[in-house]
Subunit: 226 residues, 4 copies
């Protein structure tokens, strides 16, 4: 009887184990139009999903996009409750900064460097208060010339430095897209073209750009879920 | 005996009255450098305080400044928990918009009209969620010429229209400083000077400007506390 | 004898008249994309040509466009030798200023007011040095809202004031398009739309806009050729 | 007779030589506020004059400043007849471009890259038409950080590339200040400060900056007058 009862008790647990597979790690990508396009075919989020499917962790990570075209750091802050916190992610990857720099010249509505940092830190704090892990990204490119002669290169380098400094301060992982793009373009843009290597229009990623971002993200992300 | 008992009953009430005077209505002024200067001598908040002291409500209203130089609407949103909600005001007067317009030209970091409205409404919502009454102000001036030829006049008129529309939508009182300044300058700026009538530098208020703002505010504020 | 001599005197003049028809007054329109489009079907220059053909001066005025998209006042100055002086006009109508104002916000490359005036006066001087008559135009619109709430209204009003002041200083005729558009839109834009009344896109003229400009120009131009 | 005739021929030449000492080579520095300050004590033009006085050519070169604060390339073009051509220089050193880039962000009134090139070439052409030799300079710095993270670094690099390309096209000497400053700051700005190494305020030269410019200029200038 004793053994039987044990067996009886054991079975339901086993069944339960089958019925409730281990909860997946939920990753939300929080950003602008590049991230909005990331869930399109060939987008970096779908590409990353394919990479994961073929990795040693095929069933353990769930990806979701939260990108909106034109967003700057303060737009993320404004909508983070609804678009991120309400979805209870385990990890949030923040990929923002291009519009903060770009809109200075294109409409006079960019973001000052000191305020960029303030809002960026405020977003991180709100995420960490909910025990969400945070990964930062430096902004990729506005123009693909590889000799630091794109109009916004200086400013993008500055905002990337700010993000790297925040990452260091808070001991957070950073996916250094700015660096990765620069390295790739040094080798693969011999004609010093403005676009067409990793972007279609100087900013938005073509398929190679999306793949580069997916690979860079996977390198960092797998450290956090293994 | 009768008289005595009355006296006995009366005393505790009197003591109570001394111990717990009627709670004052707490008004916070939430804005930029103009509001930051509002608590300086000759500032509009001190002037309003003097006006109130001489009114029929000398002891019922308490004023507090929450202005920070350079602030735009999203800066108010970022710091409102700490600087406003934590202080439990009864009424908040929002006076913002000048930097949102001005910084477009002066540093490329103004605020797009649609985002101005979004953050403005988000601030109001957070205040109303705490049962705080809200009063809106239209932005005063960037330049005092009275023929609509100051560089930012069109944009200030547009942002004022946005604020008036929000006020109408939400049935909130609005202190129409834009209108009040225009009316005053029509009469009192015959030489069509850029500054020196109500401002010292095209934006920041001189004593007359502070007095005008204080009077405009009192007209609306007394409706809410009488 | 008397009659004969008259006849003799008369004949050579008649012959001369056939051999050398009265030289037409040559008018060049010097400006930006609005003027570049002015020589297209429905463009204001073609419309003005039709008006002239039906006037009391059908054969006395010759019109030529010299508009290039994106031009600001200093672009006109740079290319005026080749595009205007080399063509020996009798009258030049200058219609510029919209890009000088607009490009401040759209690319950070507008023209400061003081430099706008300097180059404007330098163009006039070069034309007058060649005995060319000059007619000035105030810039029409960037946005058609009629309550002075288009972003650039203040600046356009300011640059219009500059042009009016130059015209007064130098006793030159001015075609006040800014004024004419404002008057028209006050009456014909009851919904306060941003575009679609006189422009297709807030700036470039639709057929009604081209007709309005042609009519305004004719009113001034015929004073100079009658 | 033979000797005498030689002597006779010789004397007038000798007298002529005494009466008309060898004409000095006149060099005009054509630029903005940096050049305007160049003729002040410690300014780069005075420093260059000192360097020349101690060189092998102490009496052969005459320097004159033609710098005006706030000037962009089109301002040089506008005033070049009066301020440069009228003074009959032998050599003109053009040092412009900082305001063309800087004013994009600070007032929305910078110069588009294509128009910068157009006016730059137009200035050179007018100088060469008068047989004046032209030396170009790349723009120095807006901010002294040495990791390409000053806001305008990308744009300054782009405008420097334009100037280098013009110089190559027209086989003109170029004083590459952009390069010289970068090299110096790499070594001498270990704290990556924004200012205080070669400038007082990120743009205007301190004594070391003026000396660096003077030395760079002398290296190129002496090639043209030796």
């Amino acid at each position: 009887m004793k053994h039987l009862s044990k067996l009886i008790l054991f079975f339901p647990l086993l069944l339960l184990s089958f019925a409730n597979p281990p909860k997946k790690v939920k990753v939300i990508f929080f950003g602008d139009s590049i991230t909005q396009a990331g869930v399109q075919p060939n987008g970096y989020i779908l590409k990353l999903d394919s990479i994961i499917k073929q990795s040693h962790l095929p069933n353990e990570i769930e990806l979701a996009g939260a990108g909106i075209s034109g967003n700057k750091v303060y737009d993320l802050y404004l909508r983070m409750e609804e678009d991120v916190l309400a979805k209870h992610p385990d990890i949030v990857i923040i990929y923002v900064g291009i519009n903060d720099v770009w809109h200075k010249a294109s409409s006079g509505t960019g973001t000052d460097a000191d305020k960029f940092e303030k809002f960026y830190r405020a977003i991180i704090k709100k995420l960490q208060d909910k025990n969400i892990k945070v990964i930062l990204c430096t902004p990729s490119v506005i123009g693909e010339r590889n000799d630091n002669s794109n109009q916004q290169d200086g400013d993008l380098n500055n905002y990337s430095n700010i993000i790297r400094r925040i990452a260091k301060d808070l001991a957070l992982p950073v996916i250094d897209l700015r660096n990765a793009f620069a390295g790739y373009l040094k080798v693969n843009n011999p004609a010093n073209a403005e676009k067409g290597i990793l972007t279609s229009d100087r900013v938005h990623l073509n398929e190679k750009g999306n793949l580069l971002v997916a690979n860079e993200m996977w390198t960092v992300l797998q450290q956090m879920v293994k």
